[in-house]
Amino acid sequence: MLYRITHVTRYAYQTEVSVAHHLLHLRPREMSWQRVESFDLIVQPEPAVISRRIDYFGNHTHVLTIEGGHRQLEVVAGSRIRIQPPPRVEAGATPPWESVVEGCRQDGWSAAVEAAEFRFDSPFVRRNREVADYARTSFVAGRPLVVAVRELNARIFEDFQFDARATSVATPLEEVFEERRGVCQDFAHLMIACLRSLGLPARYVSGYLETVPPKGQARLVGADASHAWVSVWCPGVGWLDFDPTNNLEPAERHITVAWGRDFGDVSPIRGVLVGSGDHALTVSVDVEPLAHSEPDASAKSVSTQSQSQASW
């Protein structure tokens, strides 16, 4: 698949902002099955400084500094991405989940221990016993890891309702768990909490999902949004992606931008500014397929709404 992705973020400030710093995670990652053919970033007003860096998790970041009074900011990130289906695994052949937990507890350094980075609490995801109990239904003794994770992925999809108005970035996981509703970010955090509470390494993936219009309707430009899903460590294989919002195992319609321990490590735009007053945010994402292959019709087209991406 070849996609052209356009991610536009606009801020309108109530009062003039004199100095602003923004940290971006907008450039998609390179992976063996995902190639970034081009990427460009257009920012208005023009920043005094733009610096690029690969962060701790290997993601691409940009830091912008805008000096001088401004009342709005527009960030347009455009990329061309070529993507192939990632390698598949035979679920039943994966190791029992307990052995994965045990392997990660080893003190020595190995690939598994490197994955252990993602086994502990992070600012948005705290392990807890209730969540572990919820997860354990799927993690019966001796079950192969991927079989158990796949079931958990399906259960979250069934048990929780997508509701764009139910939560915000600040909604704690406990509340999402209690209310049984939220958005992709919440479901990803919840699934990560489930896995980590059992001792399994899990990370947060942010990216995009190509949405497919209902039969007979035209594709709407800009109606897409940022998306988030989960990656689980499987020894001998590596990281395997799961999308609990859609009960999918991401293939060539999920475009990976960045990963980290949780949303906080990879939020698309995070800003700190000098000025007073409120701001309004509009985000539009367009995932345009340039070379088509047969779409996977099982995805829900409504379910990729993300929330305000900026933390102030």
Binding site: S51, Y56, T65, G68, F120, D265, R270
Partner: protein, 830 residues
């Protein structure tokens, strides 16, 4: 021996516990003998008196420790026990070696964990200790600080075991506190017990602080010049804010908050009235995760956006380095002996309390099998209190075990040390209290370290409490290391209690400080005005009154009604008892806006925020002002209030004198005085307008007006006659020689504004200059005589309008200055 026991009569050590004062036989330990011999000359009441002197000095110095979660009395006075903890020089020298080694070790450890992580890869340190730690700042990985140095100041909590040996309880590496309190304790105790201090040959602390200061200054990356080192504080609400201000002053570094700093082009700058000054080194007292809202905690208001990146670019030194909190974890303690061999090729000199990290199955089992009592701590911080297993009920203990099982890596078991005891005066008797000693190491230069020859000794609130914490009560002691040889006597304090300021131009005033000083000036003046107004009223309320006095009281009450300070009904009919109560409330009710007590509370916050800009004497005056303004706990009677108000007038005069005589005429002083002048003008215009509405020609109105405006004497000297409206208003409005007149305020403000920093590219005059010109014209070119005549005939409109326009003018100057200099809302040169 027993004969000298009368220095601390009635003091007994606890059997089976190591007592610092008494040895196994019933005599004093040698290091205490000199001091005990000296103290034996005092009677118990002498000692009590000295303790009282120390307490008063602490209060006057404003030494406090803010206690979280207590609203009413947020500032708790620092508590200092009269008898210092005495330490043997040989014993200290042994600790010195161990502490220096420990700081070197921690520095190397941070270098590895934030760099190649060789220790984790090679299995010397479990990965969970790194990755499981909330103190591991991922954005700071691969951020190599200049010179590879992470630590500039390191603090270690030590306890003495029953066998007399010392062991480490905890390390403080991200923003260690306590060194400033240790210094303050020393300064006070050396004044309370000067002879004892001299005779005992106590090692001085100044060399340590000189080392710390030099180490920080020399760390600057920019070549040559005068490096700018700042002390970054979270602000006056932090628990140890007193110490931040005190250290900043002592070391000669500006005290700044996050909002004072800004990052431009990967460099850190201090925002000052004249523009941006590059900052070389930041001695921070802000915790790791709060230092940069862009890359660390996004919800932090205490940090500087872009600081991590500026440090990454190598343009600023953060001391201690960002992320240094990682090695504070008690979970590291069991690994340190091996790490010392690995990193330094040395055996670890200072042992720690036996500890087991529950993240390792083996260690967890060992902890449960260990003899003796165990305390459970959190591996990676968090607010949770330590858990003493034998103190938990069965159900609580089961709950704890479930949490441990769910996340073992979050817990550390530590042997519970039976702390040694030291004598403490409770106010009634000498009691043995468990103690912990915090010691400090500073990095003076590459591979040169200084250990403070002393430290902060803290004791617990009761003889049995195992927790020693300033948050939980308890107290502190000075720590005397008896010098083996001659005492080094350098001091960083300049003679005469003079305040150390940055030696550079007045330009170095941070905008926030200027803002606070401006409001300090305004509130001081507002307080003085209200005190005079209330005093004039109370004087006429009590005792025998003349006919004139009665009429003047009615006039004052009427004016207070116009000013909105008394309800309307008092203007119509007078209930004396009710009036008295209403006036008392206007003085001493803390929640009534504009009451004297309320203004004093506002002043308390502002003076705390500019603590480092005030001399010790000025600070003492403010402490006295706050004390005198307590109004007997808000219960003062009608009879008491006039006397108390008189005292406040005198306190305020003392402050004015101090300000006039002792403050350098820099920008800081100018903003203080601008605040004062503007407030004085606004108060006077308000009062004059109230007088105009009350009865413009009535001497019963004009006399109190002159009195409150402090212009009675001037009026009498000038006019030798009864008061008239025209002459009174001329004196208060247009007379430039009267320091109380509006014309005088206007002229002084014009002078101040002229000296303030100017925009290089702005053409013509600043808006505030234009406004002042307009006010000056209104004052001088109005025909006062004619207006007064019309007002005398009942037509006050012209005069009232004139005053209103003058008031508007002064008000807009306040807004214009605020925008230009404090909020930087006007786009200025950058």
């Amino acid at each position: 021996m027993a004969t000298k026991g009368n220095a601390l009569p009635g003091y007994h050590s606890i059997p089976g516990v190591h007592d610092e004062l008494f040895g196994e036989t019933d005599g004093f330990r040698p290091v205490w003998r000199e001091l005990m011999g000296q103290l034996a000359a005092y009677s118990p009441s002498d000692l009590a008196r000295h303790q009282e002197v120390a307490r008063r000095m602490l209060r006057e110095h404003g030494v406090t420790y803010n206690v979280y979660g207590s609203d009413e009395s947020m500032e708790r006075p620092w508590s200092l026990d009269l008898v210092p903890f005495c330490m043997d020089p040989v014993e200290w020298a042994r600790l010195e070696q161990g502490l220096i080694q420990r700081m070197r070790l921690m520095d190397r450890l941070l270098g590895d964990l934030y760099g190649p992580q060789r220790l984790v890869r090679s299995g010397h340190l479990p990965a969970g200790l790194l990755h499981g730690s909330g103190a591991y700042l991922r954005p700071c990985h691969d951020l190599q600080p200049p010179g590879g140095r992470h630590l500039y100041l390191h603090a270690v909590d030590l306890a003495r075991r029953p066998d007399g040996s010392w062991c480490v309880l905890a390390d403080r590496t991200q923003a260690p506190s306590g060194a400033g309190y240790a210094l303050e304790n020393r300064i006070i105790l050396s004044r309370v017990l000067p002879d004892e201090f001299r005779e005992c040959g106590v090692s001085r602390l100044a060399g340590f602080f000189a080392g710390l200061r030099d180490g920080l200054r020399n760390a600057a990356v920019r070549p040559a010049g005068n490096p700018l080192v700042v002390l970054l504080t979270p602000g006056p609400f932090n628990e140890t804010y007193f110490e931040h201000a005190y250290l900043a002053r002592y070391l000669g570094f500006p005290l700044v908050e996050g909002g004072d700093l800004t990052v431009r082009d990967r460099r850190v700058y201090l925002k000052t009235l004249e523009g941006l000054l590059p900052v070389d080194v930041i001695l921070r007292r802000v915790d790791d995760t709060y230092c940069d809202p862009l890359e660390l905690r996004g919800d932090s208001f205490l940090g500087v956006a872009g600081l991590v990146d500026a440090a990454r670019a190598g343009n600023v030194v953060v001391a201690n380095a960002l992320g240094a909190g990682l090695v504070e974890s008690p979970a590291l303690l069991p690994f340190l002996p091996q790490l010392s061999r690995e990193l330094l090729g040395e055996e670890l000199l200072l042992p720690a309390a036996a500890s087991w990290w529950a993240g390792q199955e083996r260690a967890r089992r060992a902890a449960f099998a260990a003899p003796g009592r165990i305390v459970w701590k959190r591996s990676f911080g968090g607010a949770a209190d330590p858990v003493f297993s034998e103190e938990l009920g069965g159900e609580e203990w089961q709950e704890f075990l479930r949490n441990l099982e769910a996340s073992p890596s979050d817990f550390v078991a530590q042997e519970r040390i039976e702390l040694s005891t030291t004598p403490v005066w409770t106010g009634e008797a000498w009691e043995p209290r468990p103690m912990v000693l915090r010691m400090f190491v500073a990095m003076e230069g590459p591979d040169t370290y200084r250990v403070m020859p002393g430290g902060l000794t803290r004791f617990s609130a009761s003889p049995v409490s195992p927790v020693v914490s300033a948050q939980r009560g308890g107290g502190s002691k000075d720590t005397w290391v008896m010098a083996g040889g001659p005492v080094d006597t350098i001091s960083l304090l300049r003679p005469g209690g003079q305040v150390i300021r940055l030696d550079r131009a007045p330009a170095d005033v941070p905008s926030r400080i200027a803002d606070n000083l401006y409001w300090l000036g305004r509130y001081i003046e507002r307080l003085e005005h209200q005190v005079r107004l209330k005093r004039a009223t109370f004087h006429r309320l009590g005792g025998e009154t003349t006919h004139d006095g009665q009429a003047e009281l009615m006039a004052l009450v009427q004016m207070l009604v116009v000013l909105g300070q008394l309800p309307d009904r008092f203007g119509r009919d007078m209930d004396w008892e009710e009036l008295g109560l209403a006036l008392l409330a206007q003085v001493q009710q803390p929640h009534r806006p504009g009451s004297i007590r309320e203004i004093l509370n506002r002043l308390r916050f502002i003076t705390a925020a500019v603590r480092d800009r005030l001399s010790n004497d000025t600070w003492r005056i403010f402490q006295r002002l706050q004390g005198d303004g307590q109004f007997t706990g808000g219960q003062a009677t009608l009879e008491e209030v006039p006397g108390l108000l008189n005292t406040l007038v005198v306190d305020l005069a003392a402050f004015s004198g101090m300000e006039l005589e002792n403050m350098t005429r820099g920008h800081a002083w100018r903003f203080l005085d601008i605040g004062r002048r503007l407030e004085r003008a606004l108060n006077l215009v308000g009062l004059m307008r109230a007088a105009l509405r009350t009865g413009p020609t009535d001497p019963a109105v004009l006399n109190p007006l002159l009195e409150v405006a402090d212009s009675v004497m001037t009026y009498r000297r000038r006019y030798f006659e009864h008061v008239h409206l025209a002459t009174t208003f001329d004196l208060l409005l247009a007379d430039e020689s009267n320091p109380r007149a509006l014309a005088f305020q206007c002229e002084t403000l014009q002078e101040h504004v002229e000296y303030l920093p100017r925009d290089r590219w702005a053409r013509g005059e600043h808006p505030e200059e234009r406004t002042l010109m307009q006010v000056s014209e209104l004052i001088h070119s109005s025909d006062l005589t004619a207006m007064a005549a019309r007002a005398g005939n009942g037509d006050i409109e012209d005069l009232d309008q004139l005053l209103e326009r003058i008031a508007d003018g002064f008000q807009s100057i306040s807004d214009q200055l605020t925008q230009r200099y404090f909020s930087h809302a006007v786009v200025r040169s950058s």
